[in-house]
């Protein structure tokens, strides 16, 4: 059996930032497990720019953003194993993993940081009727084919879902010579950034059909076309609006799901809204010494926020290992009236710093107010010119405010129009 103070599962931006922070806080015995061939995670295939504006103050591509952390991991001599799949974590913080050279690994950790990221919602989760033709794939799969393998998966493309990955791939496929026929979005608004709608669709005259979905897939061996239709306010297809679009590729960009199989199997409490663990302000889960950060905790829109959150988790894990964790008296946080969720879900009021609460709204609002209440009493109110489901919001709870709270209290955040 191997022994490490901290085992980090996942070597993407979350895992690397957490490991680096833990090292900085004084923990030397750290191991990162990564299932891909290299560190970097999904950033390696996100070759477009726009990463790092908040954290580095410059606009980087995904591989460049990842490379800054990979270089630091090497410089600080943090151990990692690539091509290594974590299989299980136990109640005693033993990690089982497997790779081709070591075979089965059994690793006793003092603390574990979960940084497995998320995966794309597949076709099976959508119940689209039609044949099982090839050429139907997630937008991220196509992104890997084009950007890593240098292989174009098709020539005539329909994209279902207007999340950022779908928009980015509409542009990418067009640049490489494919004809992107349209992007269909079930909702009456796009969940992607406005910037991406302008620069990925409008620039190339790619139509975006809102309140529209794919209702049938045609073709035997290879997909030959799709039937799309407009949907009503209950997202049901409207009879008579069906039209056929010829295509050889259908890309799905219909949401991301945190990859929490390991978390669930060991019985860590999950939040049904985020599909990630329930955590405190250091991102410690319901299981002592197990922390979670990045997209495995909740799906982020910017990697910069993943980095910040993971540094918090890394610090928390280091404090735990070094026996510096403070005593705990928790209050609960809850999103109400337009706020879908808040991370962290609980806060230790004995914490000596300020606490940032991150949250997401359920629909688009203009000129709204964010109201924070403690046990029903308003403590913070902030104006926001625009709120959208695709953009994570945050609010800072100052430590002197925290000191006035009592164990068992409740913070609620709501939107008021």
């Amino acid at each position: 059996m191997l022994n490490y103070d901290i085992v980090v599962i996942g070597g993407g931006p979350a895992g690397m930032a957490a490991a680096l922070k833990a090292k900085e806080c004084g923990v030397d015995s750290i191991l990162i497990l990564e299932r891909a061939e290299t560190l970097g995670g999904i950033l390696e295939q996100c070759i477009h720019t726009g990463f790092g504006l908040h954290y580095f103050g410059e606009e980087l591509s995904g591989p460049e953003y990842a490379d800054r952390f990979i270089s630091l991991v090497n410089e600080k001599n943090i151990e990692y194993k690539t091509d290594t799949m974590a299989l299980e974590i136990t109640e005693n913080n033993v990690v089982y993993a497997v790779n081709k050279t070591d075979g089965l690994l059994e690793i006793q950790a003092k603390a574990i940081i979960l940084a497995m990221g998320c995966r794309e919602r597949p076709r099976g989760a959508l119940n689209i009727a039609g044949t099982r033709a090839s050429g139907v794939m997630s937008a991220g799969t196509a992104q890997k084919y084009v950007n890593i393998d240098g292989y174009m998966p098709g020539k005539k493309v329909v994209i279902l879902g207007s999340g950022d990955i779908g928009l980015i791939m509409a542009r990418r496929m067009t640049l490489e010579g494919a004809e992107v026929k349209c992007v269909c979005e079930l909702m009456p608004y796009s969940s992607g950034l406005t910037r991406n709608i302008v620069q990925c669709l409008d620039d190339f005259n790619i139509p975006l059909y809102l309140s529209c979905t794919v209702i049938d897939i045609h073709g035997k061996g290879r997909i030959e076309g799709v039937t799309i239709a407009d949907v009503d306010e209950n997202r049901r297809p409207i009879k008579g609006t069906e039209r056929y679009i010829e295509c050889d590729t259908l890309l799905l960009s219909v949401g991301l799901i945190p990859e929490n199989e390991l978390t669930r199997a060991v019985g860590i409490q999950l939040d049904p809204i985020t599909s990630g663990a329930v955590v405190d302000e250091y991102r410690e889960t319901s299981h002592k010494g197990v922390f979670a950060c990045g997209n495995v905790l909740h799906v982020h829109d910017l990697v910069d926020y993943v980095t910040l959150e993971s540094q918090t988790a890394g610090e928390g894990a280091a404090n735990y290992v070094l026996g510096k964790s403070s005593e705990a008296e928790y209050i609960e946080t809850k999103g109400v009236n337009g706020v879908r969720y808040i991370v962290p879900q609980k806060v230790n009021i004995k914490n000596e710093g300020d606490i940032k609460l991150y949250f997401r709204v359920g629909q688009v609002y203009k000129n709204a107010r964010i109201v924070v209440k403690y046990n029903g009493e308003e403590i913070i109110s902030r104006k926001r010119p625009r709120l959208a489901p695709g953009e994570m919001e945050d609010v800072l709870i100052k430590n002197d405010m925290l000191k006035n709270f009592a164990q068992g209290g409740k913070i609620e955040i709501s939107v008021e129009v």
């Binding site: 390696e44 070759i47 477009h48 720019t49 606009e59 980087l60 591509s61 591989p63 460049e64 490379d67 084009v146 950007n147 890593i148 393998d149 240098g150 292989y151 990418r172 640049l175 490489e176 950034l193 406005t194 910037r195 709608i197 302008v198 620069q199 409008d202 620039d203 010119p385 625009r386 959208a388 953009e391």
Partner: protein, 121 residues
Amino acid sequence: MQKNIICVACPMGCGVTVDIDDNGEILSVTGNTCKRGDAYARTECTNPVRSLATTVKVDGGIYNVVPCKSAGAIPKEKIMECMNIINNASANAPVNLGDVLIKDILGTGIDIVATNHCPAK
């Protein structure tokens, strides 16, 4: 002539209308809610620019392609022409992040640089 633009200077996404006379002079910018919107709309009407990110073929590398980007923004109407040049170019492994792969593409003064490493096979 009137041009309608969606401002992308921030996430607000304001709809901005630009009035242009027959000589291409901008007469007015309306609909923006801040100064940045005014500036964005003017550039977008006179000289729209974009940064380009794509891949270049690699010979003898562990991967078939290496990602690259334009080191600065290039005129929007030259994007497809740049793609054509980049897709006909290739690099020899090893490629390092930051390597200049194509100098001064299309006389724009902008280099195409590698954004990742590609070790030799």
